[in-house]
Symmetry: D2
Subunit: 352 residues, 4 copies
């Protein structure tokens, strides 16, 4: 079986990573990589890591054979995705959306945080949430639908929501949390700020610098609250640090009446992710390092009991462009097409 | 007036920064820079930035004329400071200790976190706490004592406590905090891990990596709780990021009954630091950047109201070796000697 | 066919990269990864990128089943390799040596630069030189020998020699060089300095720093002169820059009587590497970037005519641990075992 | 004496560094900092390192009291400087130009490399060359002229020419060079690429990357050849490395008939720079590090004899924005105003 795959918005960081993963995937074949801005240029002339790897050119969106693809990855800004997805799904394409358009189940919440009305609410209801370790059932239902040739839609989780939720979900689903705010302070590499050259992404401003941004206002807040079912309880503060790829989320969860032991917590987390090949739980006081998962679709998670202040501190490291975006999109597509979940995602980070 | 200054442990990162600041200080004169390991080597042969600046050599501790110094900076590990300070104070020296030995007021708390008994508890009672913006009175009292020639002792605040407390103190002292944990997630540059070459400080392991460490166990926890008077309420999680100098602390404080406006918070913070030349409060949504204070003794602070989760998020950026160690030590010494607090500390970070 | 592979010295940067490549190789199976220092520890406890990938432990050298391996990669310091290789070759193992012991054909030159006598000169004569694009014939002869079960030996090229020679060989073999020194100024990432924690590899000293080292004395000098057949003509100056993986060599070659056009040069280089899947020649003024080959076994090469001073400036970017060490070792092993040269080496660098 | 100083083009990296140096200078007073783009904004709102340091705003060029300044630093692109300098000199201002407009003595060479005619050739003849260690006489002549109130002009050396010439001049002026190309391979931090956000300066493209650029075509080539009097003999290849501030030039000079000893070379260099407070010659095999001079106006130089290939390898590290631009401009201004050359330039790089 060869699955024809298209990438819309292939010139951005998530899009080009999707291209890289598809080119290395044993079952997918790259049928289109669109970029209206770079149409006609060879991918390798824009991203020279592809020299000697592919001769494919970026194509204009309107010229790309997207409707004849089996799967289309939408690596476009929000609003663009909900404009393009309906026609593709209609044509029977499996659409894997990396934008924010199909993540929030409540269109009013979407409108409140993104300041635009949702224009594809019908599709929103059908969309599966793309975070396999926490919502695999929904994706497997799409795989069933897919067998009869139906178009399907996955709204992939954002990078911060992925790491934050993987860190917190085992504890929250086990009912360990007491009342009070849950605090997620996360640090991302600069690739999270996108390909556009701005003052924020200028080497001389990003280098040797750490800063918070989007304090009390980042749009991933309602997404994380939805995933973890913690309405109005999340304090989410993202930070930028001087690295390219990598995202660490540190989540502090107040304990309820039951105070577990460290050993119970470790067991809880290991059990929770026992069947998830791409998530490793680190125990024995080892903390996740973003470098250990850079360039991959893997996640490293650890949990620590802080008896002193009666909280749990859970951490998760991912590659924001890998497990946080393109890698997770491919993982979701694998499930939708009935492939092994890790197909094409076996890469191991360089050791040092 | 020329004030003879000695630095004990001058070869470490805090010690050599003290040397650099003393060499550029208009009133201090470097009388001794000790390092038993490097005794006899020129400073510039070890730290080549001093080529063309000074010909001074490191001296062995026992050979250094410390007792004839006016001020001695102890940039030594904990326990070493409490072993050396008493004799110097006895001889009338102003001792500025950068270690942890004279920070915690309760020797039992010290013993609990550092696993050694405190051996200079008498001196502990006399020590002023070295964080001028929050405890200037104590330092000014030493200045009075100093006029009569008495030996005095300052126990300088640690790097994380400095940034965390500068961020949180205005809100906490104003009584804005409600019940529940106060969460400080802080990110430090690698210089915070010290000069010793280890796997943690190896470029190939630190580069492109972010990780938490000392989760639920970092020794700065009781120090911050003491400064802010929040016993058993602090969740402190430090992180390492790939930069040399710089520390950002992000502090989340649950609000009590009163919900201030953003404007009130800004005003509160601006008023609080109005007379502090080395602390700038950033308003209008601007967040502190560690790069803006690198190489200096300055601190940048901002505060944001998060109505959504009813918390305040306060941030502070410092240079962990500057305001977080050697710079603050010099600032304290300035006060003790009746000099303008910013004397010799006028450096401005490079713009980009 | 499954080829049992052992890695001796698996805990160093080249060794662990060999481990990573073997684990991802479709025909190789990791049979042993030795480290006397770390024997008994799981690889993933030392290099956490292997969590979820392998449960294998490092073994002590003496306990490892090296003689029953089909191929053994020696990622050990010089002198250790020539001590271990003979017995393995004797037992019919294909030995791929990453050290300097079997690179220099003249044992006197070896002794002159490494200050020890060569103790396996017989084997030295049989060793093929491991830089396939320039010496493929020798490796293919080993493949023939291998068919009859003979032990064979490859002495893989060093990192600087690989990049420098790939840059210069097409011009030199075409006879374009005139008289006078050939200058190779090369820049390496810090992984080239090895895993040992030293002042040189300390983040705070390596970060934000560029410096030359080994000026006029680096041991790769005679190796490059041998490869390119330019006795006593090479000025080789290596530099360290603040990146993990990556090596760029910039080679300036004085022209002889014939002044080629830029177009002729481009054609010459493209023709030279036409059949080499892992080397890409960049034309049209594009220069190689180390980031474009990081984490891979690829090389990017460009050549520029400098009419002004009548020289050629040729550049080559590689990953010093990939094409410069472990990747090239696997490439050589592939040839020796009759596999496609790029087998298991298809990785593409992350796009940004 | 207070010297009123203006900076034109104050928002760029060289301009804002000039602002920083002027604000810390004991004799200069910042009278104007122009930026048409940012006019009306506080400097500290654009470069937050100035919070708590100055309240000054950028002013539009046409509103700035430049003609009443004693000294004006032109930190503008080439062509803009030659458009603005004549009127200011006419008004009696000391103009310190950081652009390329008044560096090349031959207007035809200027036109050839910059593709525009020189429009201020009269002034070009009067301009002193701003590289004090090599051309102090010309600057001291301006100091004489200045005493009578005349407007004067300095064309400051570029960053690469400064480092390359400081490395090579002692050997070349001593007549040690033989025939053949002189090769300067230099590595610069990303600040050398300017403040404009481009793909080249994007963190994700610059990070973990080294590459050559401007091969055989960089405009600093004729400037270096002019300074060192080596017409058509220079092969200059600049490179970009992932650091903010710092520039290292490695210069390979073929020896003539006389082969000096290493000790003679060291002596030659030490003697040459004996009276230059801002240049340190490193001996004993120590190589210059860019980190040792970052943020300063200092230069570190070393020279190594390579007997093997009969060449000298001379290296020089500077801060490209400091000694390579704004620092050197202030150094030149100090001379022109009869101040100690190092006035306001005493900063020492952070030790690590």
């Amino acid at each position: 079986m060869t699955i024809k795959a298209g990438v819309v918005g292939a010139a951005g960081f998530a899009g080009i990573e999707a291209v890289r993963l598809i080119l290395g995937h044993p079952e997918f074949e790259l049928a289109a990589a669109t970029s209206n801005e770079l149409a006609g240029k060879r991918i390798s002339d824009v991203y020279p890591n592809f020299h000697g790897v592919t001769e494919i050119e970026f194509s204009a969106h309107e010229d790309a054979p997207l409707e004849s693809c089996d799967v289309v990855f939408l690596a476009v800004p929000h609003t663009a995705a909900m404009a393009q997805a309906p026609a593709l799904v209609e044509k029977g394409v499996a659409v894997i959306d990396l934008s924010a358009d199909f993540r929030l189940k409540d269109p009013e919440v979407y409108e409140q945080w993104y300041n635009v009305p949702h224009t594809a609410t019908d599709l929103l209801e059908q969309a599966a949430f793309g975070l396999p370790e926490l919502f695999r059932d929904g994706l497997e239902q799409l795989a069933e639908m897919r067998k009869s040739g139906a178009g399907v839609l996955v709204g992939c989780a954002g990078c911060y929501p992925t790491a934050t939720s993987l860190a917190a979900a085992p504890a929250l689903r086990a009912g360990l949390a007491g009342a009070g705010p849950i605090v997620a302070d996360a640090v991302s590499g600069v690739s999270g700020a996108g390909k556009k050259a701005t003052e924020r992404t200028h080497f001389c401003f990003a280098d040797e610098n750490v800063e918070a941004y989007g304090v009390a206002s980042h749009r991933h807040t309602p997404e994380i609250e939805q995933i973890l079912d913690i309405p109005n309880r999340l304090v989410f503060t993202p930070h930028l640090a001087p690295l390219d790829r990598g995202l660490l989320s540190t989540v502090t969860i107040p304990l309820g009446e039951h105070m577990p032991t460290q050993s119970e917590l470790d067991q809880l987390y290991c059990d929770f992710y026992r069947d998830d090949a791409l998530v490793s739980v680190l125990t024995g006081g080892v903390q996740p390092k973003t470098a250990s998962v850079a360039g991959t679709c893997r996640a490293h998670v650890a949990v620590v009991l802080n008896e002193h202040a009666r909280v749990i501190v859970a951490t998760c490291a991912i590659d924001n462009v890998g497990k946080g975006a393109a890698g997770q999109a491919v993982q979701c597509a694998n499930i939708v097409f009935g492939l092994p979940e890790t197909c094409g995602l076996g890469a191991v980070a360089i050791p040092a």
